[in-house]
């Protein structure tokens, strides 16, 4: 019983076979043949909501056949409804002597000639019809028939394609995903103009009926992984999915890990790049954040810009990002460990300088570090949530009170302020926010470990994290690939990025189907003047 209901709710439609939706056969699940009953049903179902528009028009000369046009105000393009449905039915049918026409012919006429819209399909399933109306489609019911038409006339207010807020690049596309699924798929289609870009749509959420699409490049992506994604999405049975983050929690491999194993991005170029590596993108209606799976740890530390800038610079920047990742994770802990356990590790002058600063600080270094880190996290959270107008106020309070005054009052040492500030800045370098919060969270237990066992504690914590990370998998792909296990061919695009003409293979774990992504020997070379004597000679004689 439950499974039947589940299956109905999760009715899956693939775009390539759209319209072939199966009809439910039980009598109470289908629409009635009487128009009045249907009208009552619809009004009842929506609780006679004020934005529900039920318009009755007559088909043919009077009295004609009653036709009910149903839609929700605000979700449909009203002009389209009147131009494409009401006008043809109301005006053109006037001419036709259709009074005596059999019902089947009327329906055929409606579907094939009168409804001037690109997408119209016939349904008889009650729940499906109601869901379609709720989703913003326009329903047309003819008196005497239990078959209704549903046409897509959706048109609602939506945000346009804007620059992504969370992943900013200097060089590269300024396009970001928006909240509308169709817009997002079109952004991808515009980047990958090939029929092999396959899109599959699912409806998730018992009540929200959120549309979720998975896209991949057929032939590159591993079919088994695609099937796995499909399976994981179809088994979700919840009331609603509002954001891809919710979806992520239902489909990820290791739900209890602090680390995200599915990448989220709002950049179409990033998604397209991932698709070409054989990965799968999961688009959710209502959010600009698209999920990419399988993801590896290093993907969280890369920015699309790495692939557009010159590779030396991109590699250097990437290394810098790794360094900042470790600074963000470890610096306070190392500071605590070194100043309270391993003073021998610092140069004498530095150790004396720190000792002088800590003179009179009432707290032990661990507590000082925790205190300042928490203070910073509060500050950061406040800065994010606050209306922009209050921004300066926050920085003044943060800088003056927490920084300057605390040091003056001798509550914290200025070395600690430097450490916390550097840590904070380093944590902003991580391009993907979900990783940088994971790092922030992990920082605290590591500080505690450092405060109790010094460097041994730090090594202990880091080993634990490393073991955990290397036991993670994202849809079958080892999360730390290509670092653990070491995959030599994938190291070309890991800690550093080689030039494009050298990155000739797809990642080993996701691109096995079609391992080469470019032909060999693409490294540009200057034409050899010896071989082609005219070139050099011409150049010299040119000006004369």
């Amino acid at each position: 019983m439950l499974s039947k209901a589940l299956r109905r709710l999760l009715s899956r439609q693939r775009t390539d076979v759209a319209g072939k939706g199966q009809c439910a056969s039980s009598p109470d699940a289908v629409l009635s043949k009487r128009l009045r009953e249907n009208e009552a049903l619809i009004r009842d179902a929506f609780g006679n909501s004020p934005d529900l528009i039920v318009r009755e028009i007559r088909f043919g000369v009077s009295p004609g056949i009653a036709v009910l046009v149903v839609h929700i105000d605000g979700l449909v393009n009203t002009a389209l409804v009147s131009e494409g449905i009401i006008k043809p039915i109301g005006i053109i049918s006037e001419i036709l002597e259709s009074e005596r026409l059999p019902l089947a012919q009327v329906q055929d006429m409606l579907k094939n000639r009168l409804i001037l819209l690109s997408d119209a399909k016939q349904v008889s399933d009650k729940a499906g019809f109601l869901n379609d109306i709720a989703a913003g489609k326009c329903g047309i019911i003819v008196d005497g028939s239990s078959e209704a038409f549903v046409c897509d006339v959706r048109g609602f207010e939506k945000r346009g394609v804007e620059e992504p807020q969370s992943e900013v690049v200097i060089r590269g596309s300024r396009e970001g995903f928006s909240e509308t699924l169709r817009v997002n798929t079109s952004l991808l289609r515009r980047r990958i103009r090939d029929p092999r870009l396959w899109i599959e749509e699912f409806t998730v959420g018992r009540v929200s009926h959120t549309q979720v699409a998975i896209t991949y490049i057929k032939g590159i992506a591993d079919d088994k992984v695609v099937q796995e994604v499909r399976d994981r999405i179809t088994r979700i049975d919840v009331d609603s999915i509002q954001e891809s983050g919710e979806l992520e929690e239902y489909i990820e491999d290791e739900p209890l890990s602090p680390f995200p194993t599915i990448l989220r991005t709002e950049r179409p170029d990033r998604v397209a790049g991932a698709l070409f590596e054989g990965r799968i993108a999961i688009l959710t209606d209502g959010t600009p954040f698209v999920l990419i799976a399988p993801a590896t740890f290093l993907m969280f530390l890369t920015s699309p810009e790495d692939y557009y800038e010159r590779f030396f610079i991109a590699s250097a920047v990437r290394l810098l990002r790794f360094v900042s990742f470790f600074i963000a994770l470890l610096l306070p802990a190392l500071y605590v460990a070194v100043t309270t356990f391993h003073q021998e590790m610092l140069p004498t002058s530095l150790v004396l300088a720190i000792a002088a600063q800590r003179e009179g600080v009432p707290f032990p270094a661990v507590f000082e570090a925790l205190l300042m880190e928490v203070a910073f996290e509060i500050l950061r959270e406040a800065a994010v949530r606050l209306p922009k107008i209050y921004g300066p106020a926050i920085s003044i309070v943060g800088v003056l009170i927490l920084g300057e005054a605390a040091v003056r009052a001798g509550l914290v040492s200025s070395a600690m302020i430097i450490v916390v500030a550097l840590t904070a800045i380093a944590s902003f370098v991580t391009p993907i926010f979900s990783l940088s919060i994971a790092v922030r969270l992990l920082r605290f237990p590591i500080i505690l470990l450092a405060g109790t066992l010094g460097l041994f504690g730090v090594v202990f914590g880091m080993s634990g994290a490393a073991i955990h990370l290397s036991s993670l998998r994202s849809f079958g792909v080892p999360f730390l690939e290509p670092i653990a296990p070491v995959v030599l061919s994938d190291l070309k695009d890991a800690l550093i990025r080689l030039p494009w003409w050298a990155m000739d293979t797809r990642p080993k774990f996701t691109g096995e189907n079609d391992p080469r992504r470019e032909s060999r020997g693409l490294m540009p070379a200057v034409p050899n003047p010896q071989a082609d004597g005219t070139l050099g000679a011409k150049g010299k004689k040119g000006p004369r």
Binding site: E254, T340, A353, G454
Partner: protein
């Protein structure tokens, strides 16, 4: 199942630090509760068979105050304590020091002359067993005074005496080659090696007449007692046997191939009472032992390269190639003289093989060495030492010839 495992692990990870912090953090020592010892001195105590440790502890607050403005306070504190062993004396320091003294940052281990003459063996082991002491500490013997006295010296250019002394030592070892800088590691190797007696750095006090500051503004007292690091202390076994002066020390360094730079003053070829200085650029040496008829001998080859740094009398090497070559010869002569000075004092005065000739023989003739080993004390003064010095002068600075002044005859 998986969920339960993860919850358990997460809980454990969370609990461990909490439990540990409740159980107490055994090795934790806040940085401000530590007295960083910069140098440590070892002397005899007042009582018989007592060892006195003198620690030279930094005062961080005084240093930072000194950075922001003038302050009277000395940036260090010196404290002594006694015990029957070094370790006991060291621990006894805690009776007097409110902050826990730590040796991690110590730079010098100083022995008083008296203590060194009676033998340092009983004091050495502590410095190797104790993990706080780094093997890069410099071993110094204080000439004529106790270690506690020499630690008091101050330098005008450095607030921390240890830093100052280290600076001097580095410069003197590198640019003068008239001092030795012996780390604890090297010292131990020399003490333990067969056929190699130890040397250590030598420090002494320089007393300056207290002078008044002409402006009378500076509050800080002019430092009247300062230190000087020069020469070397020679040991036989674990006992100090004597001192090497500047010349002898450089002689020793020549043999050991440790001369980096330095000034060699020679008499000018043409003007016997005028001098010229040669700056050493590079030098190396080889010591080749030989044994004939059971009698050991040693050949020392020294090669030195120098630049002509100054001459006191008119000199133009372009005019006379011979003078240039003669300068090289004189330079070789000076070097040979220095080596001989060192050899003589080591052979006849100390009877102590501070050059490690015995060790060289052991390396080349391990079998013969087993026979020589026991009578090395008698053999060493009789050892035939041949010295070959090869020198070359390369450049003469920015000018090719010397500064020439036209001298007006008086009267």
């Amino acid at each position: 199942m998986r969920v339960r495992r993860c919850v358990r692990i997460t809980a454990l990870l969370a609990i461990i630090p909490v439990v540990l912090s409740m159980a107490g953090c055994w090795s934790r020592k806040e940085i401000e509760d530590i007295g960083f010892v910069l140098s440590i001195g070892v002397d005899h105590g007042a009582k018989e068979d007592e060892i006195m440790i003198t620690a030279h502890i930094a005062k961080p607050f005084a240093i930072s105050a000194g950075l922001s403005g003038a302050v009277d306070e000395k940036p260090f504190w010196q404290v002594s304590s006694t015990g029957r062993t070094v370790f006991e004396a060291w621990r006894n320091l805690r009776q007097q020091s409110p902050r826990r003294p730590l040796l991690h940052h110590s730079r010098f281990i100083v022995f008083g002359e008296e203590f060194a003459r009676d033998g340092i063996h009983e004091a050495m082991d502590f410095f190797f067993k104790e993990s706080e002491v780094r093997e890069t500490n410099v071993v110094v013997v204080a000439k004529g005074v106790k270690a506690s006295e020499i630690l008091w010296n101050e330098f005008e250019l450095e607030r921390m005496p240890a830093e100052g002394a280290l600076g001097i030592m580095k410069v003197a070892a590198q640019e003068l080659s008239t001092t030795v800088m012996i780390t604890l590691n090297e010292f131990l190797q020399m003490l333990e090696a067969e056929g190699h007696e130890a040397v250590a750095s030598r420090a002494e006090l320089v007393r300056r007449p207290p002078s008044e500051d002409p402006r009378g503004q500076l509050k800080r007292e002019t430092i009247s007692i300062s230190g000087r690091e020069t020469g070397a202390a020679a040991f036989k076994g674990d006992k100090l046997v004597g001192w090497l002066d500047k010349t002898q020390t450089r002689g020793l360094q020549w043999v050991k191939g440790k001369v980096r730079s330095g000034i060699i003053v020679i008499e000018q070829p043409e003007e016997e009472n005028k001098l010229a200085s040669i700056e050493l650029v590079r030098a190396d040496s080889t010591v080749t032992p030989g044994i004939s008829d059971g009698r050991p001998s040693v050949l020392i080859k020294v090669r030195a390269i120098g630049n002509l740094g100054e001459v006191q009398e008119d000199f133009d090497p372009m005019k006379s190639q011979e003078a240039w070559l003669s300068m090289e010869r004189r330079m070789a002569e000076v070097i040979r003289h220095e080596i001989e000075a060192a050899l003589n004092i080591a052979k006849y005065e100390f009877n102590s093989d501070i050059f490690g000739f015995g060790a060289e023989i052991q390396r080349k003739y391990p079998k013969e060495w087993t026979k020589l080993k026991d009578k090395w004390d008698e053999e060493f003064p009789k050892l035939d030492v041949e010295i070959e010095v090869e020198t070359s002068l390369r450049r003469s600075g920015l000018t090719r010839r010397s500064v020439q002044t036209v001298r007006k005859e008086e009267g």
